[in-house]
Symmetry: C2
Subunit: 419 residues, 2 copies
């Protein structure tokens, strides 16, 4: 036990050392490392798939479910996607070193902020081995060192992918320990990782709510995270109802399992009699189960009666809660009471309603006339995404390269003194 | 005990409620509240000084030291400064609602970030009652609710100042509980405040290192803070030595007690024989005790031998540690090893040296040709300062109104759907 914790601390110590070198890495070195990684993924397909096969077979013996097997499997298609992702990240502008907010003070000194890496980033994830490459690439591009801890069921795959990453780092003259894959399946390794504040600057967990909840209770290192994506679409009294049907249908059915999927639909009472039967027909035809308030049931007899449990739940599946409200304020109050601060949307053609909703709803993303399933860093133009944050401090909403950096103040003078 | 914790939780619950109203407060309301507070401070001087007198007398009976009595005392001068501060904050631009990074995506949807309040801010401070007004004003201006917990020795003063704040809030139609002063001297109240993550979004501690260290060990709510200001000035081989003397002297002697005071002076060996005797003469004449490495002692016989303890110490007094180094890299390595990530400066006329130092030193502020005592929000042009942060996430360096806000994503479309 002590030995394992010492091993994790040694990983932390090396990561901190590597972070100092990564802070100084040039854009050209980082791009080279990413391209070499892409080339190696391509040339080492057979080795990678063999390592992955060991994980997949072990998972089959343990009778893990098909969804997990699907996430665990490295196919040619998933390897191609990783290669494409690496090339895209290599081509993105380097966020490090950018100077902003430059101004000259009355005494002639120049004050500015410089974008710099965060330092050491710990990523904790579950069964998808491609996260090893995606996370390594984003941390590398933003000049950080990374410690990766994937699911134990993907250990052989992750170690093989980790070798590809090492290869890229070394080819570019960067420290191999800038990206380290924790090679023990022992769960106590995670406990060590999330508490060693001297070596780790931030933890980004990717996984289910129960994992993240447990981690946040134990962590001493700050986390960039979200727990729930209990997202709402509010159909306003002044909505274009044809647009409202498209938006609500897309928000629910684009993909049931994404965190931006709509889980509760709120409808102004003035439009409910027209809108609700129409959207209900479309959703029921698509296999979505409806659970609504009494007023919903009056208009849609197929809907079950919703309970408080329904307002609180992120279904991540083909179920939708529906509530008819008297006013927009009641919709906002419902979101305040039950929402998770992730993503909410109003459908309205009334500019004042739109402004008020967007100002008053206290979520990391607030939309007008768009489905909540747009909650994604690529859709926002970030070029890449390491996760979505509902934190209030630092990065909020989809987190791209910029969220993996911080600002330091840089001042220049010519001998001005104070006082 | 339970009752006290319930009382603090009730304060938290009310603050959360008030934060929702504050988020919607107009700039005019916030300015009005600040001006009414300033007027009330002016008209209620006698009442405030009487309340303060109770605290001062109690402190005298407990034989608290003169420095503390000085910080505790509300004079006409300190009341005038609070009034001036309130008027200045009232006149500053409102940070809330600002839209940045607006762009149109290929599908026509508009993506932007809106600056919004953080929510509920807990401020924990020591004996200075003026912090009650300064902190309340900054939280109010940035649209947050505040919970204030000052030193128990200043309780009567803080409660009297809290009434002035309430008066301003109510006059502007804002909730009285947007700023609450904790009225129990019980230390367990602090423990409750820093752990109730459901009601408090961030804690800003202002005080000595031991207080802040203890708080960070127990806190579950994120903190914006710094522990040490162990600041370094490095005199480069290419320094203008006359400028270097002015900068080093000012960095040490401007005020010994500020967190930006220089605590260690690093000197390139090539300039040490010329520079070191001169700065040593000036500092010794000013009553500063010098502690140096062996090479320092060879040039300045009065210097005591410095130990590792000296490199690690933030003296906050008339003592300076001095080390002669062979290269700039050695200076940077010393800062990495012993520094606190607060503020460091290089004196050099060589642009490449300046760039390298500014890029490689991993502190919240890095200067060229300026004394470290400029570490202050007013000097940076922030208009006000709630504290200085050495955190890597969120606000780093001097924290003004912007550090008390966060960004949310706001998207507008016209019915675009995904997939």
């Amino acid at each position: 036990m002590t030995t394992m914790i010492e091993a994790i601390q040694q990983i932390g110590r090396e990561a901190r050392q590597a972070a100092r070198a990564m802070m100084r890495a040039t854009s050209a070195q980082k791009a080279q490392a990413l391209h070499v990684m892409a080339d190696a993924l391509s040339s080492q397909r057979a080795t990678l798939k063999a390592a992955n096969q060991r994980d997949v077979e072990a998972a089959k013996i343990r009778s893990l479910d098909n969804a997990l097997l699907d996430r665990l499997t490295l196919s040619d298609r998933s390897i191609d996607l990783m290669i494409e992702g690496l090339r895209q990240i290599a081509a993105m502008p380097d966020p490090v070193g950018e100077l902003t907010a430059t101004k000259i003070r009355p005494n002639g000194m120049q004050v500015a902020q410089m974008r710099v890496p965060l330092g050491v980033i710990g990523i904790i994830y579950e069964s998808r081995p491609n996260v090893t490459i995606d996370a390594a690439a984003l941390c590398l591009k933003s000049g950080n060192a990374a410690i990766l801890r994937g699911g134990s069921e993907a250990l052989h795959s992750n170690l093989a992918l980790g070798k590809v990453v090492s290869h890229g780092l070394m080819a570019a003259g960067l420290p191999e320990s800038a990206v380290q894959v924790i090679d023990t399946p022992d769960r106590a390794a995670v406990g060590a990782l999330i508490t060693m504040t001297e070596f780790v600057d931030v933890i980004i967990p990717r996984g289910g709510k129960s994992l993240i909840k447990r981690l946040s209770e134990e962590a001493r290192v700050p986390m960039i995270k979200h727990l729930d994506g209990n997202c709402h679409v509010y159909i306003d009294e002044f909505a274009d109802l044809s647009m409202a049907v498209d938006i609500a249908f897309n928000a629910k059915t684009y993909r049931y399992g994404v965190c931006g999927a709509m889980e509760t639909l709120l409808i102004h009472q003035a439009v409910a009699p027209t809108f609700l039967p129409e959207i209900a027909r479309a959703l029921i035809a698509h296999g979505v189960e409806l659970r609504g308030c009494a007023r919903t049931q009056a208009l849609v007899p197929q809907a079950l009666l919703a309970t408080d449990e329904d307002w609180a739940t992120e279904y991540l599946g083909p179920i939708l809660a529906i509530r008819v409200v008297d006013t927009m304020s009641e919709a906002i109050a419902h979101i305040e009471r039950w929402g998770s601060g992730h993503t909410e949307s109003i459908v309205t053609s009334h500019i004042i309603q739109a402004q008020q909703f967007q100002r008053e709803v206290d979520s990391s993303s607030v939309y007008v006339n768009l489905p909540t399933c747009f909650a994604d860093g690529f859709e926002y133009g970030l070029g890449a995404e390491i996760g979505i944050s509902t934190n209030r401090l630092h990065a909020r909403g989809p987190v791209g390269l910029e969220g993996l950096t911080t600002l330091k103040w840089v001042l220049q003078g010519h001998g001005q003194t104070r006082g």
